[in-house]
Every structure is written in C-alpha cells, then in structure tokens.
C-alpha cells in the first residue's frame, strides 16, 4: 500500500527495501524524513499531537502520489505519516520515491512533500513551556507548493 497513516513508528531501511524489492529497473531511490524538533518559533517543544481527517487524508495523499507519477518518471512511491502524540527527535513523515534515474526521483519526492504540507489534512498541536498551541500554517509552504504550478518554472 502506497499510503499509510499510523501512530506506530516506521523503519526507513525496511520500507525502502520493501518498495524496491524484486524490481531491477530501479536505479534511484530518494527519501525524505520529517522529524519533531525541540524548538519551534522560539519556544521549547515538549511534545506534539498530530490530528488528521481519517479518509480524506489517505485520499489526498493518494491523489498527490498519483499527480507525482503523472508528472515524473518514477515507478514506486510511498508516504507514511504518523498521528497521535510524538516527542522531539521522533520521526513524523516518510516519503520515498523510486525510479530509473535520480532526477525524477529527487523531484517527485520534493513535489509530494510540498503538496503534503499544503493539501493533506493534518494539524499539529505543540505542548510548550508556555502551554499548548496549534501550529500556524506557513506562507513559505504555500510558496513551495506553488513552484510546481504551471508558469512557475
């Protein structure tokens, strides 16, 4: 399955091995791993809770992967995103793309991540020394996704 939303941690090596297993045309694998930082916007982050919209989240991620496969020459793609309570240094998200050559694998990985940040319904709530707060969306994430729109090359 190319999309998984789960509370459990993931094993990057095992996931990459499974994605390319038995496919000798794969010459390039690109991966992105997002992690929980201990500082955000000047405050110490003690823990983080990730909420999502079950059903729509999976649907949105599958749509993003489908768009990436239509745009780049990749053969396989995987997105794993964790939900629930996470601590600093924990893994949050994994995106892996695999194809014959690195250029499309790199680009597709970044494309998927940029759209995940702006389209997939996840929300982060941080516990800080000053109390709990919902993370605000960043304009820089919208700009990152907009790079992939027509006329932005």
């Amino acid at each position: 399955m190319s999309v998984r939303v789960q509370s459990a941690d993931f094993d990057v090596g095992a996931e990459i091995a499974a994605l390319r297993r038995g496919d000798p045309k794969i010459g390039a694998v690109a991966a992105f791993i997002g992690l929980v930082r201990d500082v955000n916007d000047g405050s110490e982050v003690r823990s983080m809770t990730l909420e999502h919209y079950p059903g729509m989240t999976e649907r949105a991620l599958e749509g993003i992967i489908s768009a990436a496969k239509g745009r780049f020459r990749i053969d396989h793609a995987l997105v794993i995103h964790r939900v629930g309570e996470l601590q600093p240094t924990d893994q949050i998200v994994l995106v892996v793309t695999a194809g014959s050559h690195r250029g499309d694998a790199f680009a597709a990985c970044e494309f998927i991540m940029d759209y995940l940040k702006t389209q997939a319904p996840f929300w982060k709530k941080e516990q800080t020394r000053e109390g709990a707060r919902w993370v605000e969306a960043r304009g820089s994430d919208d700009q990152a996704a907009a790079r992939w729109e027509p006329g932005q090359d």
Binding site: E51, P121, E136
Partner: protein, 85 residues
C-alpha cells in the same frame, strides 16, 4: 436536506464539537451559504467561522471553494489551514 458536518483541530476546540448532522433550510446549497448559516448561530460559531478567519472546507473529502454546491447527504468538513509533514 440533511448534511454531515465535521470540525477539526483549533476549529473543533473553538466550537466545542467534532461534528453534527444538520438539517439545512432550502436556499442553503453552497459552501458559502452553509458557512453563513453557521455564523448566524452567533457566539463561538460567529467567531470561529468569521469571514476573516482563514479556513479550508472539504465536501465529500475533496477540497472545496465558496461556490461549491452542497447536496443531500454530503459530508462537509471545516478546518484551519493544514500543518502536517
């Protein structure tokens, strides 16, 4: 007509509800009209859904815009801009 409404994240906390089934009066048949209908409840609803608050809306789990039509049985979700990844 009847629709299923869902609220997420800070919006869910603000209105004190994760969702409801709601019977809509005739004439409330778009995302914009539904938002106005909920704002008219006043109080926390007015504050949480105010026009100047950046919110996203999904109809049947696809991102929607103000003019998107709403039909009997639709699932309509309101939520703040997303912050995953």
């Amino acid at each position: 007509m009847s629709v299923k409404l869902l609220y997420f994240a800070s919006l869910r906390e603000q209105v004190g509800s994760s969702g409801e089934s709601l019977e809509l009066p005739s004439g409330v048949a778009s995302v914009a009209a539904l938002r106005e209908h909920l704002i008219a409840r006043g109080g926390v609803w007015q504050a949480a859904l105010a026009a100047n608050r950046a919110l996203r809306v999904a109809v049947n789990q696809d991102l929607a815009i103000a003019s998107t039509a709403i039909k009997e049985g639709d699932e309509v979700a309101f939520f703040p801009p997303v912050t995953g990844g």
